[in-house]
Amino acid sequence: MNFKYIKYGMGLFLLTLFLASCTEKIDIELDESYTRLVVEGAITTDTMAHTISLNTTTSYYYEEPAPGVTNAVVTLNDGESTITLSETSPGRYQTPADYFGIPGRTYKLGIRLNSPLNGEDTYTAESTMNLPAPLDSIRAVYHEDWGTEGFYEIKCYVLDPLTTDYYQFKVLKNNTMLTDSLNKVLITDDRFYNGNYTNGIGVGYLNQAFEAEKVAPGDQLTIQSSRISETFFRFVTELQIQSGFQTPLFSGPPANVQGNISGGAIGYFTTYPVNYTSTTVTDAK
């Protein structure tokens, strides 16, 4: 059960009523709070150079990408050995290119800054990698009547185990990642279907009104599925709420998103296994 559906439904409900409701830009002066460290990093089972990025917070109206934090010492411990990541560009710290995560292991991230931010120079985080969650199969279905140009829905077929699980799904088209931000990631818990066969629940949506998401016959659609940790699930849930549209009807008071980095830093460090399941679109819509 995806609450996003409900919100979409109720949003339409509202829209129906108030065709007159409008938006316009407005000048709001905002104060500026102190600078904090922002950490972002995920270790997966893919063999590649995995990145941990370190940035700082900025004022809200800052117009540039977040400034990177350089010359930090970033270490990664997988329970057996510790490696030090190398800074490949300002604020981006990478593992060697042959690095991959191993399910079941607990990873510890250590960060020591060159100069402290807000009085803190040492930050840590840890994450245990879950076991993989491969899908049996996926299928792409076209819905002509969704939205203006229709949607492709990617349905998934797999038996959910009896444990409490949290999943993440990302969409690739012809091996290009379409899910390029945490806002677009589809995450779900199995609270309402624990232990059941998923029977074609939607795990990816391609809006045919967007150029990048347009699907042509012969295109290969892939779902990257992961069994993520509860901590990361909550982080993404909160992030999606707090960066989304807020209304007096549905939204609670705005609140800061809780990450898993110590020392008052913002952001997350997580690990998850990834599995890829593909389907080829045969017919034209």
Partner: protein
């Protein structure tokens, strides 16, 4: 549980026995007293008039009719001149020689029918000066009908929001905050039955069909001892009883809905009925919409009010009334249906002319169901329901002209079914997901006396004792200090799991300085045992009420108020100034990013703390004359302090709007034409804005200020209406009127919400965007009566 219930029954019995009527009681000085009692009604419809006054010139005091139109006063043998009056009606004077108990039933004539101005008597003090009641506003339905309304839908709740001390929760919302309280702290009663969710269509319209309503009274602080269970206010709404004289109909055809009310006698002056219906027809126009997504929507609401009353004899009368309303909405993705139901059975019984009683049985419920169409893997339906059954007895003993004693008791059984979701259709992958039901009993016993101590001093004192018990079967969750569930226990049926009790004193003092001025003070303590899990300011229809329990303490409030009341021009102009201070404990808020729906561990999401509200309310009101209406100004502050929220620092409550002005004016251009205007101004509602940002996962993540540290831009709006009545002809029954209204006449773009968006061309650039709901909205309504 049993013992409380038994003592409750015993108490009821006692009250009935103790009150064996005595025809004439000698008072302390040995002088024989007799009573004058009766009912006061409208001459045309036979409707009982609530709050009509009976003033006895000789003793310079009087009484008022109760909610059933009944009054009683006992006086020594003698000759008296009684003045019966009611706002908008011609006063009547009766002179009687009181030698025995006397019944005077009177029918007053509405001034509208008389067509001529009537001299207003300057002899008696205005009711607002004389009564030891403060922080109370009574509105009659005629006043409410004249207020220009959104889309022409006259709305009781929207009228209430124009009173001092009352704020709307957000633009167009039916939620309201009284003296800084939360919307769930208002007890809304329709014929004594609780209305849990007073809104239709996400709050833009209220559930009350004004054609079926007789009287609306809002108690903002000085809540009578006979009521309890909510912290901030009591909104007491009474349905019409039905025309006792002749069959008649009232109705209207509006921009978004139509209404029809039929009422009349089944047996003249003994049995009358009323049936009122209302339905919107936005959906009729949806197929014409250009946008396909909108075209396929279904969207409507309807209301049905019904009432029947029967006078068995002079001492017994029964009433049966009910409300049923529903919102229905569906599109390709979601289906939703929700509504309130209430039912009230009442029996008025006169034990004697001086002992009035009423026995009530009430049922009310609110439910919603939400789901998707069948046939998909994610098809589901989710239902939630809340209901209560109550039994109640109230006695009023008109002991002496200077003492009116009220006692009574109520017992309520609550059932909470917070949620039950399951897949629908053979395709669905969802299993049933059920939150445990909760049951609770709530009791209230009260006694109060309204006492004329001296000619100038009147006091009203009362005590309410309330109790609340969680009852099995149920599931108790135990939490640790981090609000995490450590274990849960399933308990069996009928077992009392937890008991709370509370003593709630209520006190009102009125000192009459002169015929046209008085000073009043009041104190009231209130306790609230059931709460609404609502995290947003305007609220969704997905209301989830939950009971106090071993983990959730009842909310309590103490309120002090003092006021100066002054009338001018022979009571034509009423002015008042009140200041109040309210402190609340165990007020409920929610942790950051709380998850309230379908969460069995909801109690772990709550954070409780203290609340403080204080303010000044000024009101000038003119009830009669060509130009009538009111002007109100409120200066207020309301804050909360909760240990785990906002780092334990005090923060503004969501409805803290320091300055609030409402002007409501009507002017009769002629007998047939009326113009109305209202203007409202309020400081912008508190909001939380980002004071920094982090970029995470290609998403701009706001870092927020202290809670509610900013404000939306100030809100103001002008509404206008023009009413044109059909010519009044002697022999024509049909009376029609056109009502043209304009909401937000100068089209101010009042911010409903402010969001921050990323620039399309440069995603790293962010700017603020405000959403406003209504620009100028004209509407036409045709109302009729026959």
């Amino acid at each position: 549980m049993k013992t409380i219930f038994l003592s409750f029954l015993l108490l009821l019995l006692n009250m009935s026995l103790l009150s064996i009527p005595v025809s004439a009681e000698p008072d302390d000085s040995g002088i024989k007293r007799f009573s004058i009692s009766g009912n006061i009604r409208d001459q045309k419809t036979g409707e009982e008039l609530i709050g009509a006054t009976i003033y006895i010139r000789e003793i310079k005091t009087g009484t008022t009719t109760n909610v059933y139109g009944f009054y009683s006063i006992s006086l020594p043998v003698g000759r008296y001149s009684l003045l019966y009056s009611y706002i908008g009606y011609t006063s009547v004077e009766k002179i009687i020689d009181l030698k025995e108990n006397t019944t005077i039933n009177l029918e007053l004539i509405s001034r509208e029918q008389q067509l001529k101005e009537v001299v207003i008597t300057g002899e008696k003090a205005g009711e607002n000066i004389r009564k030891p009641e403060m922080s109370v506003v009574k509105m009659d339905i005629k006043t409410i009908n004249r207020i220009p309304a959104l889309m022409g839908e006259v709305d009781i709740i929207k009228a209430i929001q124009m009173l001092p001390g009352v704020q709307s929760t957000s633009e167009g919302s039916s939620g309201f905050s009284v003296r800084g309280g939360a919307p769930d702290q208002n007890l809304i009663l329709l014929d004594e039955a609780i209305v849990y969710n007073a809104s239709h269509l996400l709050g833009f319209f209220s559930v009350f069909n004004n054609d079926a309503i007789k009287d609306v009274t809002l108690y903002k602080g000085d809540i009578p001892a006979s009521s309890g269970g909510r912290l901030s206010s009591l909104l007491d709404i009474r349905m019409k009883d039905g025309n006792q004289k002749k069959l008649s109909a009232t109705g209207g055809i509006g921009t978004i809905s139509s209404r029809l009310t039929i009422e009349g006698p089944l047996e003249k002056d003994r049995t009358a009925f009323l049936v009122a219906g209302r339905r919107t027809y936005v959906d009729i126009f949806l197929p014409f919409a250009k946008n396909k997504d909108i075209r396929d929507n279904i969207l409507y609401f309807y209301d049905l009010n019904a009432k029947i009353n029967h006078r068995i004899d002079d001492r017994n009368r029964i009433f049966l009334s009910g409300y049923f309303g529903r919102d229905v909405f569906s599109n390709d993705f979601a289906r939703m249906s929700l509504g309130n139901q209430t039912g009230t059975f009442r029996w008025n019984h006169l034990f004697s002319q001086r002992l009035f009683s009423n026995f009530t049985i009430i049922q009310s419920s609110y439910d919603y169901r939400l789901g998707t169409p069948e046939g998909n893997a994610n098809s589901f339906i989710w239902k939630s329901r809340l209901q209560n059954q109550s039994a109640k007895a109230d006695f009023t003993w008109y002991a002496t002209p200077g003492n009116t004693v009220r006692v009574g008791a109520i017992a309520t059984f609550h059932t909470f079914d917070p949620g039950n979701a399951k897949g629908t259709g053979s395709e669905s992958l969802f299993t049933e997901y059920k939150l445990p039901r909760n049951y609770a009993m709530e009791y209230g016993v009260y006694a109060s006396n309204e006492q004329q101590v001296t000619q100038k001093l009147m006091v009203k004192y009362g005590l309410r004792f309330s109790a609340f018990q969680n009852i099995g079967p149920g599931t108790i969750y135990n939490y640790n200090e981090n609000y995490e569930v450590i274990d849960s226990v399933v308990v069996s049926r009928s077992k009392v799991l937890n008991t709370y009790t509370s003593l709630e004193p209520r006190l009102g003092i009125n000192y009459v300085i002169s015929k046209s001025a008085s000073v009043k003070a009041s104190y009231s303590a209130t306790t609230q045992y059931i709460h609404l899990a609502q995290n947003s300011t305007a609220g969704t229809p997905l209301d989830l009420w939950f009971p106090s329990s071993q983990n959730v303490k009842p909310q309590k409030a103490n309120q002090f108020a003092i006021g100066y009341f002054r009338n001018f021009k022979d009571n034509l102009l009423e002015a008042s100034a009140e200041v109040y201070y309210k402190s609340m404990t165990d007020v409920i808020d929610f942790k950051d990013n709380a998850e309230l729906l379908l969460n069995p561990e909801l109690e772990g999401e709550l954070r409780t703390g203290k609340g403080t509200a204080y303010g000044l309310e000024l009101l000038v009101r003119k009830n009669d004359g060509k130009l009538n209406g009111w002007v109100s100004y409120t200066l207020s502050s309301t804050t909360r302090k909760v240990a785990e929220i906002n780092n334990g620092k005090s923060y503004r409550a969501p409805y803290d709007k320091p300055h609030n002005i409402s002007i409501v004016l009507n002017y009769e251009l002629s007998e047939r034409m009326l113009i109305s205007a209202n203007w409202v101004y309020a400081t912008g509602a508190p909001v939380t804005f980002p004071t920094g940002r982090a970029v995470v996962g290609n998403v701009i993540l706001p870092i927020y200020s202290d809670r509610n540290a900013y404000r939306l831009p100030d809100y103001h709006r002008l509404d206008l209406a023009f009413t044109l009545k059909s010519k009044i002809k002697e022999n024509r029954r049909w009376q029609g009127e056109w009502n043209f209204s304009v909401y937000n006449a100068y089209a101010r773009k009042n911010a409903w919400s402010i969001n921050f968006e990323q620039d399309v061309d440069n995603p790293m650039r962010t700017y603020a965007v405000k959403t406003y709901l209504f620009s100028i909205i004209p509407a036409i309504t045709y109302n009729f009566k026959f």
